[in-house]
Assembly symmetry: C2
Homo-oligomer: 234 residues x 2
């Protein structure tokens, strides 16, 4: 009999490999399963996903473009570091994007936008009720991302998405200690923000989102000052 079986069947469509490893690495980086600074081995990934190094490399190039990974020329590529000791740039940008996107949403929103936003609002409320911390982080991000989409400014939505990614990474450090003192208040604030967007009151949307953002920031700061994050060396 012939030893050329009909090819072991790669069982995987043509452009899907890159996306798979990209998504996986992205998740592992944002959840800090891959520690900042740790090396990424191309051949190891190639074996793990049973593909050649080419799609692996493409995924790494894309991650490097988003700043999640750093490519040292002719040497290994490593997971990017976050400066956990100086989060001010992150906070500044986060607050400003909260404001800008919410303000724009109040101006540009369409009826269908509100339905989507309300959906995530309810998801978040549900997460708070069940005290599911990871779901809270995810649905809160989705809620604000939806607001940003309603603002229809790609420059802002792109930066905001990156900020929410980094926020997820930062909160991963602490998600065990993320207590439920504030989340209930956040639910109410979200409702107020929705009302302002629906009323097309951009000034009120701006004011509310600013207060909201600053409370989130101060909550993070409080978490960071309260106790050390796990035992990770910075």
């Amino acid at each position: 009999m012939s030893d050329t079986d009909p090819v072991p069947a790669p069982e995987r469509k043509r452009g899907s490999g890159v996306k798979m490893v990209y998504d996986l690495l992205r998740d592992e980086i944002l959840d800090l399963k891959l520690a900042p600074g740790s090396m990424i081995d191309e051949v190891q990934l190639a074996e793990r996903f049973k593909m050649s190094r080419t799609p692996i490399r493409e995924a790494l190039v894309r991650l490097a473009g988003e700043g999640l990974v750093e490519t040292l020329p002719n040497r290994s590529t490593i997971v990017s570091n976050i400066d956990f000791l100086n989060l001010n740039p992150f906070f500044d940008a986060l607050v400003l994007m909260y404001r800008a996107t919410t303000r724009l949403a109040a101006q540009k929103r369409q009826p269908q936008d509100l339905a989507i936003i309300r959906g995530f609002h309810e998801d978040y409320a549900e997460a708070v009720k069940t005290r599911d911390t990871l779901a809270m982080i995810a649905t809160n991000a989705a809620f604000h991302a939806a607001i940003a989409e309603a603002g229809r400014n790609p420059y802002f939505t792109n930066l905001f998405r990156r900020l929410l990614d980094d926020g997820r990474r930062i909160l991963s450090l602490y998600y065990k200690s993320y207590e439920d003192e504030f989340p209930q208040r956040f639910v109410e604030e979200h409702a107020e923000i929705i009302a302002a967007i629906e009323a097309r009151d951009s000034d009120r949307a701006d004011r509310l989102s600013r207060i909201h953002a600053e409370q989130i920031v101060s909550q993070i700061v409080r978490l960071f000052s309260r106790k050390d994050p796990f035992d990770m060396t910075l």
Copy 2:
């Protein structure tokens, strides 16, 4: 004699190929030498640069990450379109980043930052004096990018760099008709902004940069309403 000459010498260092074609394509896209929507042929580029398709592809992936090209799965990659008919998102983001970066620069600047900023300020003044439009665009961008660097917020500097890129692309449409009514005034405004940054007066820096940004925007709007850009089909 042997026909294996000591290899025609690729005469090109190891990681440099990607950067070469990346830089070239980026320039050609931003200067509209490559029309939005036009196809990019990998093999053609490979022949032109005398290298294999691999580094070409990596450059394209990076450009796609910055939104300058669009990769259609299993089909060609094309130069991204700019929505020239609705520049409002661009203007909104541009004005906000002018303000945010200048404000931060007034807070965070170090002595050496001012020297760099003044250098580009003089370059811009020189470009205005010699009426070199392309140099004006470039040095003005460099001036504000330097201010953004002094603000030391990577989120803002990255977005701002992208905005300045798109601005270069937009102005390429018109650079012939970019008259010299305002540039002289811009020189003076730049000087005022520098003074505010030096005095660490962030409120004044904010106010001045806002006025400055809005004048630039209105100048662009005026250009667009005055006459049609070349004969390019949108």
